[in-house]
């Protein structure tokens, strides 16, 4: 799939922007603070209804405006879809596809698929478990849109249950009478979420190993994934065994129920839900040790990159190339990793790249260039730069 056109209004620093896009690589070039990342962030928003930089919507709306609009023409399966999202912080967003409003914004999820790689992704390796859970769940929803409902219901039940546990500690008495009811919801939804996550980790693991080998070069440690759960049946964090038969949602729900019963006293004492997918973690292994805490800075970057390339490969294997978005990453990578990334980016149906200077971007990706300056996005005439001229037709070929 690819975007043929992108428009934003009152989004971040943009009053408005209107950009025609083509398949192949497009590089957005501009000095810092001109709004390059804001444009690719808008593309990411269409895919996840969230930003890779902030968790709330308010910062996405231009200062002084009440709403932001992102509109894109998407080519998918030889059809063109017009996707529009109206971002209303504090109120419900409105989403339209081909001018027809969707009853719920989350029904958009899965339509526009992107894989976004940005400096923030280092948190996948070094950050808190919450980062990795969000990563897993976003990818889940993009592959199986139905799970967006399961995920948001689970979050809601969790909030209700935590609120109950907190008050139960103070009030005691009858307050706990309803806990069983919330347990029922929590374990059923939690079982579904766990089953989906386990399947995803198993699907993703071989691609991660392959991508890491490609990125880090010969002789590097082997990368693997594991799932560490508060429910022992779901995983202990060890590298996934491809031969393992994964437990189903009902089996996991039963295991979760058992575990919730065991921890009941602790939960009441501490006033918070201690078991469930919201306490789990995706474990990244590098050779014999977990990557977190052991991997060097360079290895961490390679791992983050390998995970994102694995996502791309996984979604591609599902049938359609996702849009690859590379936000300001080339400057952070050494030449070997740049080449590995450029290789995938070149083969993608559409790649959107941001960079402060075009020299940071490998020559093979210098197809279409868009200059971002003074609140304007201008497509530069296709004159080859010195680098792409030096590598012959590659730059044009990629475009």
């Amino acid at each position: 799939m690819y975007l043929r056109h992108l428009q934003v209004g009152h989004f971040r620093s943009w009053e408005s922007a209107d950009l025609a896009l083509t398949p192949g690589p497009t590089v957005l070039v501009g000095r810092n603070g001109q709004g390059k990342t804001n444009l690719v962030e808008a593309v990411g928003y269409l895919a996840t209804l969230g930003s890779h930089r902030v968790s709330a919507d308010a910062p996405l709306v231009r200062h002084g405006a009440s709403q932001a609009v992102v509109r894109a023409a998407l080519r998918r399966d030889d059809r063109e879809l017009l996707v529009e999202v109206e971002i209303n912080p504090g109120r419900a967003n409105r989403v339209r596809v081909n001018r027809a409003p969707l009853p719920r914004p989350r029904e958009l999820l899965g339509l526009v698929r992107t894989v976004l790689f940005a400096p923030e992704d280092l948190a996948l390796v070094r950050g808190d478990p919450a980062e990795r859970r969000r990563f897993l769940d976003d990818l889940l929803v993009s592959r199986t849109p139905r799970l967006a409902g399961v995920r948001s219901d689970y979050d809601r039940v969790l909030k209700q249950r935590n609120a109950l546990l907190k008050t139960a500690k103070l009030a005691r008495g009858n307050a706990l009478a309803t806990l069983d009811v919330w347990d029922g919801h929590l374990t059923e939804l939690g079982g579904q979420l766990l089953a989906a996550r386990l399947q995803l980790v198993a699907d993703l693991a071989p691609y991660v190993a392959e991508s890491y080998a490609g990125v880090a070069g010969p002789g590097a440690d082997r990368a693997a994934l594991g799932y560490s759960s508060s429910v022992p049946l779901a995983g202990d964090g060890a590298p996934v065994d491809p031969a393992r038969v994964l437990p189903g949602a009902e089996e996991l729900a039963a295991a979760l129920r058992e575990r919730v019963a065991e921890r009941r006293k602790d939960e009441v004492d501490r006033g918070v839900t201690l078991v469930g997918p919201h306490r789990d973690d995706l474990v990244l292994h590098l050779g014999p040790a977990p990557a977190k805490g052991y991997a060097s800075h360079g290895e961490s970057w390679s791992f983050a990159l390998a995970v994102k390339l694995a996502c791309f490969a996984l979604l591609r294997a599902d049938g359609d190339d996702p849009i690859l978005v590379l936000d300001d990453v080339f400057a952070e990578l050494d030449s070997g990793r740049r080449a590995a990334l450029a290789e995938v980016a070149r083969s993608a149906e559409q790649t959107l790249i941001t960079a402060a200077v075009a020299e940071d971007v490998p020559a093979v990706l210098l197809g279409t260039r868009v200059q971002i300056a003074d609140g304007q996005a201008r497509i530069l005439p296709g004159e080859p730069t010195e680098e792409s001229a030096a590598t012959g037709e590659a730059g044009v070929d990629g475009g």
Binding site: E107, R146, D153, T167, T178, D180, H185
Partner: protein, 199 residues
């Protein structure tokens, strides 16, 4: 910002559910321009609601006398009780003219986030009604969202030992709708609750 009284009115209106700042402003200026008899009627209606409306001692629906119209109606059967969250749900079900039993209005749903537990709802009162031996069936018609489902599950457990027939309203496809427009949860529920067609 407007001066004194106008701004006060806009602020008060803006506190009502479903009324945003723009609507509040519109309503305020509509009232300013309206005939004083019209405004008087509105004021009187508001004051009457405060002074006269009470809650039915039996079912906790809104009423003007000790018991609501439905509880006083001798044609309604005494053996079936339908539990709803709010008085507006009674009105909605009444529009169907399908239900001949009586109601019980809980006054909300269990929601720990908002600090609402069973003790804040008319659950004890419901249990008292169910104990009197006349009631044989309980229909739980709370909203089909997480809080409504939790309330339903809680009531079902609580009522279980009494040996009544307890049912939950079905979830499924809207009549006159298109299958393709149903969201996946509704469609999933509709599959679960499918009915055999007797030929």
């Amino acid at each position: 910002m407007y001066e004194g009284a106008v701004q006060d009115l806009i602020d008060e209106l803006g506190r009502l559910p479903g009324v945003g700042p723009k609507s509040a402003q519109r309503i305020a200026f509509h009232l300013l321009a309206a005939e004083s008899t019209d405004v008087g009627r509105l004021v009187a209606a508001l004051q009457r609601v405060q002074a006269e409306v009470r809650f039915c001692v039996t079912c906790h629906n809104v009423a003007e006398t000790e018991q609501c119209r439905i509880c006083r109606d001798p044609r309604r059967t005494l053996d079936v009780i339908c539990v709803v969250e709010e008085p507006k749900d009674v009105v909605a079900i009444e529009r169907t003219r399908e239900f001949k039993g009586r109601y019980h209005v809980l006054g909300g749903a269990i929601s720990p986030i908002e600090g609402i537990g069973p003790d804040d709802l008319k659950v004890k009162e419901l249990m008292t009604r169910l104990m009197d031996g006349q009631v044989t069936e309980l229909i739980i018609a709370t909203d089909p969202n997480l809080e409504g489902e939790a309330t339903a599950a809680y009531l079902a457990r609580l009522v279980g030992p009494l040996g009544l027939a307890v049912s939950r309203l079905a979830s499924g496809l809207p009549v006159g709708g298109d299958l393709e427009y149903a969201d996946e949860v509704t469609l999933g529920r509709a599959f679960e609750g499918r009915r055999r067609i007797d030929a």
